[in-house]
Symmetry: C2
Subunit: 237 residues, 2 copies
């Protein structure tokens, strides 16, 4: 059902979407009022309710628009890796890379929402209530399936339930980092070198996650007596 007429300078819906994204990113969801958004967009207050239904539905559309391309880029990255590997399993590092690097690109392209989008995403993922429970699953399903397969091939000795949890931990560390949280930095004693480029941070994140994903199992099946920790004293207490 096409609209019969619309504005010259983008239609109202897009203007609201753009203004909302900008303000939500800058000030957060709760701290941004619909009156600020509609004022910035130059539209009437009631327009947001007409076009979106509610403030929550608005923020949902705001970052649905970003999440699709991001996850598509992740899958495309993985596709490239797998076709290059010609059937052999990938390294864990490269699989993690396929998840993290596209997010890094998003964080640096203002047109794609910039780092602020990831910050908002990271925050909204942690939210126990609201729309996350119904929206995120649909957007992440394909990504999870594909990467779970890849990890399973790369880590054949890790049981499925263990792998699920490790992916969970990976998800947490990644969300936290990409969200730009600097809890430690603020705490002061550990200053995360601000001069570090995003690339070097991502490299550090990848090696951390890859090592965690490949951790030896709590009770080793003793198939491959792999020595992991070295140069560290034995377990105390």
């Amino acid at each position: 059902m096409p609209r019969s007429r619309q504005r010259i300078l983008g239609d109202t819906k897009d203007r609201i979407l753009g203004a909302a994204e900008k303000l939500f990113m800058e000030r957060g969801y709760a701290a941004t009022s619909l009156r600020e958004i509609t004022a910035a967009a130059g539209v009437n207050l009631a327009a947001v309710n007409y076009h979106f239904g509610s403030k929550e539905a608005l923020v949902r559309e705001v970052f649905e628009r970003r999440l699709g391309p991001l996850n598509a880029a992740r899958i495309a990255y993985l596709d490239r890796l797998e076709s290059a590997a010609a059937g052999r399993p990938l390294t864990v590092e490269s699989i993690v890379e396929a998840i993290v690097v596209p997010a890094l690109h998003v964080s640096r392209e203002p047109l794609a929402g910039g780092a602020a989008f990831l910050r908002l995403l990271g925050r909204v993922i942690l939210e126990p209530t609201g729309f996350v429970r119904e929206i995120l699953p649909a957007h992440y399903r394909d990504v999870i399936v594909r990467f779970k397969e890849a990890f399973t091939r790369a880590l054949p000795n890790i049981p499925e339930s263990e792998l699920a949890w490790r992916m969970h931990f990976m998800f947490g560390a990644m969300s936290y980092t990409l969200a730009g949280n600097d809890a430690l930095q603020l705490i002061g004693t550990c200053k995360l070198d601000g001069a570090d480029s995003p690339e070097s941070i991502i490299r550090r994140l990848i090696s951390f996650l890859a090592a965690g994903l490949q951790a030896r199992l709590p009770e080793q099946d003793s198939k491959r007596p792999r020595k992991l920790a070295s140069g560290v004293g034995r377990k105390a207490a």
Copy 2:
């Protein structure tokens, strides 16, 4: 300055604090109104503003009361490990244990706030705005200092900046997990075995984090030619 008179059934301030904690945990901060809190506590609406000054100051006191004991338990745990080790460096696993296990205990003791407290804490840590920026540092400083020292001794070959980032990643994965987020679970394809006991989850988390913290450096100084990944195909692309 002691109060001259106070109620029989706990004074107003404590009643508000108790009701607020319960409701904030259940419904989140933004979704809980002062009117609900004061109604549940059986006190007047204006009382919360008289005793605390604002809603924000109230939630701050709510989880300051829990965070102190939690971090004290972490330091005590580390103290015990170190005195038992008699000067030798601890294993990375045991240090991580000292961070995670006290939180597990909190999550299971309703009197200490229960799992809901960790959920609120994890969410509030992700919040870019508000009181976190001024409150959390003071409560976490001692913990960070002590554990950074311990990790530095346990991982003498990891540069300080690298270690800071790895602790950051650890913090993220841990907050995410303890906050009880089950993004993957909801996404469905990866069901995190609900039958898993908290203890087994914590064990998995510890081994994941310990492996990540001990990851080989991106460009190895080649002092200790440590083989980490095995049974995985070589890097593709």
